[in-house]
Subunit: 469 residues, 2 copies
């Protein structure tokens, strides 16, 4: 495509962010007043400069991902190498090693694609057992994904799968069915790869799981399933450029969203952010977002003699939930801000036939497409919330494509990092989960965690039994 046509195409396929529903003009006192937003611009400028400086210092590695070529070349090379040999690709991973590829596959994998993607992030034996039993192992590729190489769930799955592959395919051929994505140097899984010689991909330094969707973690299974990862990265890059080229902070989508959410969270007590996707293909993106938001922003910081606690609880809903949660959102405590995901073009056209024209209660449905019905419900919900003073923003995708999804994922990641910078917390790391990992290791008898084992046992032994019913 010539340069100028490509530019026009990009403009037509740009994601739109409508923040008006967050303002006092739309929702009254629970919205942000224009002067509040204006007064906050210097702070947003400070954040913008700070983030630019951190990027220049090479600190925000995930922001470089859309612009790097070498990792993509490597991913495409491995994807090409496995092409045509398998029917299913099972990703063994959990949390940040599962939610990114779930988002990509949910939005972009098509029925007719070469490889069916299954993300196995559950160790429930009644889920994982039947999954394995239903696979033709000779036609299945497993992608084991763990940054640390020691995630209990993923490593347990890997040990079970490797055992079954060796039994069924023999001690040489099983290797062809495993691709490992892990840290370049550290962890048990890296050691196993080096010993056994599987195909392997690297998770770069300094990238937490929730920022890894554009590394090999997300890109390899996506590429293997025929998703256009170049367009995905182009979308992410275009959102990045759009933010950086914005003339003012409030024209930078991520920063404007982060600033508005900060004001709503801290001055209007919006403790929860509800991401409501009126598009099933974006449901898994909602789950991915929940991890991004919860782990990046749910933090305590020791400030000398006091502890500052931050965190806005993310909730992911779909269109069916207006028949299950809306009552609470409209009539319950005003402690939420809603972000709608809306799609202009739903792709498939399914129309309601013009029957029952004489029945007042249903006849009007005839002639509408299901996509129009869905979008009408989004509008109605948005306005119903606004009329009750409940703020919402709307993110509109022209259609669900690799290019628009890339924009969306990058925007939300930047918004999390911008919001963390405003709050003065570190969006990376998850120090709070170490305790539970340590205790689980203890319970499972991992060497070196005997004290944790005793701690759990002691706690269970001294538990009050009066209130067990």
């Amino acid at each position: 495509m010539p340069q100028y046509r490509r530019r026009r195409w990009r403009e037509a396929n740009a994601l739109r962010l409508d923040l008006n529903g967050l303002l006092a003009g739309a929702v009254g006192g629970d919205g942000i007043a224009p002067e509040e937003l204006g007064a906050f611009e210097p702070e947003l400028l400070r954040v913008r400069d700070a983030i630019a400086a951190r990027r220049a210092a090479g600190e925000l590695s995930f922001t470089a991902l859309p612009h790097e070529r070498e990792p993509v070349r490597r991913v495409l090379e491995v994807a090409a190498a496995v092409q045509g040999q398998f029917d299913a690709l099972v990703v063994l991973g959990i949390g940040g090693s599962a939610l990114g590829i779930r988002a990509l596959a949910g939005a972009l994998a098509t029925e007719g694609s070469a490889l069916r993607i299954v993300v196995a992030d559950s160790i429930d034996p009644e889920t994982f057992g039947p999954l394995l039993a239903g696979l033709d192992l000779r036609r299945t590729l497993f992608n084991v994904v763990s940054k640390s190489g020691e995630t209990a769930e993923t490593m347990a799955q890997f040990m079970i799968v490797r055992d079954r592959l060796m039994h069924q395919l023999g001690a040489v051929d099983y290797k062809r069915h495993l691709v490992v994505t892990t840290d370049a140097r550290h962890g048990s899984l890296r050691q196993i790869v080096n010993d056994e010689g599987f195909q392997q991909l690297v998770i770069p330094e300094g990238i937490d799981g929730r920022y890894s969707v554009l590394t090999a973690v997300g890109l390899f299974p996506a590429a293997a399933a025929g998703i256009d990862i170049e367009e995905l990265l182009a979308g992410a890059a275009s959102m990045d450029e759009r933010g950086r080229a914005a003339p003012t902070p409030l024209r930078d989508p991520a920063l404007a969203l982060a600033g508005a959410l900060w004001l709503l969270a801290t001055r209007r007590q919006k403790r929860m952010l509800v991401l409501m996707a009126y598009c099933e293909r974006l449901a898994a993106t909602g789950d991915w977002f929940c991890q991004l938001w919860a782990e990046s922003l749910g933090k305590s910081v020791e400030l000398g003699d006091r502890t500052a606690v931050w965190g806005q609880t993310p909730i992911r809903l779909g269109p069916a939930d207006q028949h299950s949660q809306l009552q609470l959102f409209v009539d319950g405590p005003p402690d939420k801000v809603v972000v709608f995901l809306r799609v202009d073009d739903h792709g498939a056209a399914v129309d309601v036939p013009a029957t029952y024209q004489d029945l007042e209660g249903v006849g009007y449905l005839g002639g509408h497409s299901l996509g129009a019905l869905l979008n009408a419900e989004q509008r109605a919900t948005e306005l119903a919330l606004a009329k009750r003073g409940r703020p919402s923003a709307t993110l509109t995708l022209p259609g669900v494509t690799a290019f628009t999804l890339g924009q969306l994922l990058f925007l939300l990641q930047m918004a999390a990092v911008d919001l963390a910078a405003i709050a003065g917390i570190d969006p990376f790391g998850q120090p709070g989960v170490e305790e539970s990992r340590r205790l689980a290791f203890g319970l499972l008898g991992r060497p070196g965690f005997e004290a944790s084992h005793d701690e759990v046992e002691g706690w269970l032994a001294q538990k009050d039994t009066r209130f067990i019913l």
Copy 2:
């Protein structure tokens, strides 16, 4: 089974509720002090008496469902009539007409069952279109479920399905493929049933969708799929009897849970209830619970010159979410109470092989079953939360069976009603969603809703466009 053996079996299969993790002894200041609970008992007694009086007056219809025979006979009759003729049963319903059967099917439907259940609660054309395209209509039964008979999503689905069935099977035979579950007298769907003569089942008066799982709404598709609905009802009845036979309010599981949650919500600012199921089969029960909690308890009440607002936001998570949300729960604002769902016996046994014994980081996993791994993680999470002063309760099912699920569903419904009684709000009805329905009707051109149409159009026209990025 003789009476005494049945009693022993019931005891062995009784659901256990452990409330200790909500107490100050377990979590410190953010837990409930024993004296607070004691002081609250008179209030719980009042609620108990009030609920008994309402039941005696025939007001809480859903509580009678486990004890009624006639509706079950009718459900089994229709289920028997469709037996052997179909491969798939597609439920067309949304909200309360979908979440109950999702819970039942998710927990209890087995791979080998006669009928595969699909719950179609999405009108997204990219979900519903492919679903229809993938069905062999000659071997598919559709169960259309709508209390009002005018739910836009469900009626649109029905009109599309009916059209396709008539085209493919002819204007007589299509009727055999539809079973309608709706109000006995009112609504467009009732009129359609009367005109066209489909098989039909009745949703009794006074039962909201979220309390309808034990009516034909849940029971018919469950029975058709081979789920033992008698055992399900027996489980619900046993929980009902257990509550009523409790010597004190704090020995009544639903009332004790409701009382503890009320104290935590109003005195410890636990604005969210996280239901965390360490069992994939209970995931859909979590979604069902979210509707129950949100719609029953998210209410505003006009009290003369002021408005009382109540509502605890429900959040449903699974075991994988300890790798996505736990950071926030442990380190973020202390605004949540967690209720764990735990299962003693996970059924299928999948064991991790004893490989890599020399690798310290993974070798310890060998020999554990996945079920044991899952339960160890639940314990570790529970203790990690407690150590940070975050309260949790644990509901343990001996196994996931129709009998235990019946107990669980009844317990949670009673807890919602008990909590509403404590809060002084009506657990039934959903007045807050009327506005959004009205606006959607307007947008879709339903006759009589022209003013709503103009309202949305006017609102869109005057929208501030300055903050569209």
